[in-house]
């Protein structure tokens, strides 16, 4: 039998919701609506959620007219506990019945296995859905969580921005939903200027049609497509290419209800200003997309996405071009002003910029970076010449933070410093290091090109991480305002790429640089080292390495990310190449490690050995020499191959030798041999963590 179903349309009409908050709320709503309906046992076929800056829309199709009936069964205490000797209900029974909302007399007895228990049985009959919807939708409104929300007028309700209308229709019937002094009706509003409305909606199935007719592209997806294809058309027409950073695109999509793509231009004379500032001015400040020629050189054209009347494109373009002009002339003015002063002037002014409240100024940070770079140049065995450049770049790297151009256009930090450095006659390596020392800036961003730049980036990031940990401002949960995790990932990426400096020594020096600001240096150094180990682990997992292998390597307590990564890589490679051998070896290791009695030591009495034992000892001696040699060269692949050679002797040993001999001397000697076996592995990884059978062995 087909049950009767209806369509539900719900619209929250608002003043303009911030672009990113809107995107998050839209995603949230899809799951929230489904959960809400499931919890209320209201069947439906599908949910559609749409949004524009001025509205959130939920459509539920084939919504059941009645809720599903519910039969619940709750198992309670055993009958022996539920009733006393006189047959009266005990506290346990009374409490259980009350908790489940049934009369104690209604409890049923049922046998489960050998015991009889009381059961509470509850029947919730099917209910009409329509009368339930008002309250459910009111709850839905307040259940949306916003990064920031506000009150308005005399209302006490909170929402991202003021709510101005509500529409709630079940087919053609208005559902009363009350929120912030509003009561839902059957009217919606169109595009603010093209078709403001109000517009009546006769049936829930008609809402989207009404909105389309009122110049509202209600789907984020559709707006994105419209903008993308509009941009593609422009690219073809002008034979230019654009770049669409995902964030800016999303913002533009969620700043419009009826987007149209326009092309504007600016005076070519501005192209003399460094490209990066122009791009910042267009993209960050105005949300325009810059256009490049086929050689990826910036041109004087840009794309603006309008929410206005497409028939008025000429006026809107002219207006936007007028906005660009003062922005770019500002940029030009700032750039030219900055060029009038030597970079040293800006370095001196860095003491007016706070790095972090408890950690002093950017000037002080510059000095710490310089000290750290000095150490790193030695560690990395840099040439005299490179060291001089690194020193100079460290001194100048933050100078542009107080330049006019960077104060105004923050995203060009570093890049402007490089322009100014070149203009001041600094050499190319110094300029490049200044430009690139913020790299890698985000996940998957490439590290700087040159070693000098990388050492500078390393010093800058490590100084920030150590300083903030020292004042207890390390990242917690989702809060990482100084992007320390990203900084650590940058450092690890560079180390893995062969930077050739030790992290731990650098951490200690970075902390020394802070002097008295660091209360307990050892504790902080430990904390920072652990932070790096955790980040390394996350990186390795993201790269798809098995958690067992990662744990095996971490278990031996290495803290240098480069070593951790190299070992995990080698161990994974050999496990893939010789899977059986490695599994066997891991099993043997786990077995040996479980039996091992460290107190006995590992000095074996040769006179007591049988042949299988002698074979193992020989193999061990050979492996020991190889392992220590390869380890010294950080050659983990060879190290592991040396260990793999132990597979046959240890297997034979376990098969042929009875370890727990009645003769105490024999037994202890064999245990000593096993200790020695375990010791060969111990500097490399805890192989037991990779053993599949480890668990059964130990239990």
């Amino acid at each position: 039998m087909m049950l009767k179903t209806k369509t539900l349309a719900f619209e929250i009409g608002t003043e303009e919701i911030p672009a990113f908050d809107l995107a998050k709320a839209t995603t949230q709503l899809e799951t929230q609506v489904a959960e809400m309906l499931k919890a209320a046992r209201i069947a439906f076929e599908r949910i559609e959620v749409y949004s524009t800056p001025r509205r959130l829309i939920v459509l539920v199709f084939a919504l059941a007219e009645q809720t599903d009936a519910l039969a619940e069964e709750h198992k309670g205490p055993a009958v022996s506990l539920a009733f006393d000797d006189a047959g009266s209900p005990t506290k346990a029974a009374l409490g259980f019945a009350k908790g489940k909302g049934v009369e104690v007399g209604a409890l049923e007895r049922r046998r489960v296995g050998d015991t009889e228990y009381v059961f509470a049985l509850k029947q919730t009959p099917a209910q009409k859905v329509a009368p339930l919807l008002g309250a459910l939708l009111e709850k839905l409104i307040v259940s949306i969580s916003w990064p920031k929300s506000c009150r308005w007028g005399s209302e006490t309700a909170f929402f991202s921005r003021p709510v101005r209308w509500l529409l709630a229709l079940l087919d053609d019937e208005v559902i009363p939903v009350n929120f912030a002094g509003l009561c839902a009706g059957n009217t919606t509003r169109g595009h603010r200027f093209l078709a403001p409305g109000p517009h009546e909606v006769s049936h829930a199935n008609k809402l989207l049609d009404v909105l389309s007719a009122a110049s509202v592209m209600y789907s984020q997806e559709q707006r994105t497509q419209t903008i993308r294809s509009g941009i593609a058309a422009v690219e073809r027409e002008y034979n230019l290419v654009s770049e669409l950073p995902a964030n800016t695109l999303l913002e533009v999509v969620n700043l419009t209800e009826y987007p149209s793509v326009l092309v504007g231009s600016f005076d070519e004379a501005f192209l003399k200003v460094p490209e990066e500032i122009i791009v910042d001015a267009l993209l960050k400040h105005q949300r325009y997309f810059p256009l490049y020629d086929s050689k990826h050189k910036l041109t004087n054209r840009f794309i603006a996405v309008s929410n206005g009347n497409p028939d008025c494109a000429a006026i809107i373009v002219a207006g936007n071009e007028r906005v660009v002009r003062p922005r770019l002339s500002d940029a030009k003015f700032f750039y030219e002003e900055d060029l009038k002063r030597p970079l040293d002037y800006f370095v001196a002014r860095l003491d007016t910029v706070v790095f972090q409240e408890s950690l002093g100024t950017m000037r002080a940070k510059t000095e710490r970076i310089a000290a750290l770079v000095e150490h790193l140049c030695v560690a990395a065995k840099l040439s005299e010449e490179d060291t001089t450049d690194a020193r100079r770049a460290a001194y100048l790297c933050k100078a542009d933070l107080v330049s006019n151009a960077v104060v105004e256009f923050t995203s060009v930090q570093g890049i402007m410093g490089a322009y100014y450095a070149r203009a001041a006659g600094e050499n190319e390596q110094v300029a490049e290091a200044i430009a690139e020392h913020y790299r890698p800036r985000f996940a998957d961003d490439a590290p700087a090109r040159l070693t000098v730049s990388r050492l500078l980036a390393f010093a800058d990031k490590l100084d920030t991480i150590c300083g903030l940990f020292a004042v207890g401002q390390g990242p917690t949960g989702s809060s990482d305002p100084f992007a320390l995790r990203r900084g650590a990932i940058g450092i690890i990426t560079m180390l893995d790429d062969g930077l050739g400096v030790g992290l731990y020594a650098a951490i200690e020096l970075a902390l020394d640089n802070y002097g008295a600001l660091v209360a307990d240096k050892e504790a902080v150094a430990q904390e920072v080292a652990e932070f790096f180990v955790t980040r390394t682990k996350v990186i390795l997992r993201e790269r798809g390495y098995s958690p067992d292998v990662i744990d095996a390597v971490l278990a031996v307590g290495i803290v240098e990310p480069a070593q951790i990564i190299a070992r995990v890589r080698a161990l994974s490679a050999i496990s893939a190449e010789l899977p059986e051998a490695m599994e066997d070896l891991a099993t043997a290791y786990a077995r040996a490690n479980n039996l091992a009695d460290k107190t006995l030591g590992s000095t074996v009495d040769l006179s007591l050995l049988q042949s299988a034992e002698t074979a193992l000892l020989d193999a061990l001696q050979k492996a020991e020499v190889q392992v220590s040699g390869f380890l010294a060269e950080n050659d983990f692949a060879q190290t592991l191959e040396a260990l793999a050679a132990l597979r046959t002797p240890i297997d034979t040993f376990f098969i042929e030798v009875l370890i727990m001999d009645k003769d105490e001397a024999l037994k202890n000697n064999r245990l000593r041999l096993l200790n020695r076996f375990v010791e060969v592995f111990s500097p490399i990884a805890d192989f037991g963590k990779m053993a599949k059978t480890q668990r059964t062995d130990t239990c």
Binding site: K148, R151, R322, D330
Partner: protein
């Protein structure tokens, strides 16, 4: 400056183009007809029209309040000796504050744009997220910057807290940047080319005629000549004065000293004599004075028990953060 096209792209005679003072007159007329008290500029240095007591103090408490006024604002560090066409150390804002915020405030605002000759249907008018916070006043709100064809012309804010106290009901504030708006309407690229007044005989005064020398002299004063010893002394003296006047429960005159402290601080900042570490300390000193004035205003003018308000505001903040 001669011109022949207006924002709508239509040819017009220069007689019809609104002058700077026409824009002000139209806005005053418009908001006056919405029932706002049209105030004259406050006679004390302020960094923004928000800092005027008619906004910041009147936003506190339950009473209905509607006002609109032009306010000269001083930002000493923004001076450019009259050489930058877009920056001034003294500029004008047109401020509107309405409590409680009306339900149709966005439409009312768009009406004000129409009143100054902007045909909003022909343009791309956008409300772009921009949240406002004033650390010195312990105040914050949510809202937008309003864009016309990509140009930011107004700050639009629903006040949530002032002086650390929850605003209930909520006021809405509109702050129009008059120079920028007029540049847009007149189609000029330099502030100094704005036509300020035009007589029937064609006599024209530009913004430059009125204020260029002012910008040159004040930039030199702000950056080079202001006596820093005197300013430090003034800051301290005004701080003591504020606290003393608060003891007499006179929030309004006490608040004048807060504004004097702010201005002295801004000048010292422009002179480059406040180090980064001292900076925060000065801001905190101003904030605690501003908060004390708000508390006194609430207690003695509005008649609210401040202890309760402070507690509510703390809880409110907690809710939002969560």
């Amino acid at each position: 400056m001669p011109r022949d096209t207006d924002v709508a792209g239509e040819t017009q005679t220069s007689q019809v183009m609104p002058t700077f003072q026409d824009v002000i007159a139209c806005l005053q007329q418009y908001w006056s007809s919405q029932g706002c008290v049209i105030l004259q500029p406050y006679d004390n240095e302020v960094g923004a029209a928000t800092n005027v007591p008619a906004t910041i103090l009147r936003a506190l408490g339950p009473d209905v309040w509607k006002t609109a006024y032009v306010q000269g604002c001083r930002r000493p560090s923004d001076g450019r000796y009259g050489q930058n066409p877009n920056r001034l150390q003294h500029y004008y804002q047109f401020q509107v504050l309405i409590k409680p915020s009306p339900d149709d405030i966005q439409d009312l605002y768009l009406g004000s744009l129409r009143a100054i000759g902007i045909d909003v249907e022909k343009h791309d008018v956008r409300f772009v997220e921009d949240d406002w916070e004033s650390p010195t006043l312990g105040a914050w709100g949510l809202g937008w910057e309003v864009w016309i064809d990509g140009m930011e012309v107004t700050q639009f804010t629903y006040f949530q807290q002032v002086g650390g106290f929850e605003c209930s009901p909520v006021s809405v504030e509109l702050a129009y940047g008059l120079e920028r708006l007029t540049m847009y309407i007149q189609g000029v690229d330099s502030i100094y080319d704005i036509v300020w007044a035009r007589g029937e005989d064609g006599t024209t005064f530009t913004y430059g005629d009125v204020f260029l020398e002012n910008e040159r002299q004040y930039s030199a004063y702000n950056f080079e000549h202001a006596d820093t010893d005197f300013l430090f002394q003034e800051f301290n003296a005004r701080e003591s004065e504020c606290l003393k006047i608060l003891e007499a429960n006179l929030a309004l005159p006490a608040y004048d000293s807060v504004l004097k402290c702010c201005h002295a601080f801004n000048l010292l900042d422009a002179r480059g004599v406040i180090s980064a570490t001292e900076r925060m300390a000065y801001i905190l000193r101003v904030r605690s004075l501003a908060k004390a004035c708000c508390a006194s205003y609430l207690e003695h003018v509005v008649g609210e028990s401040v202890g309760v308000a402070a507690q509510e505001s703390a809880e409110g903040k907690g809710n939002r953060d969560a």
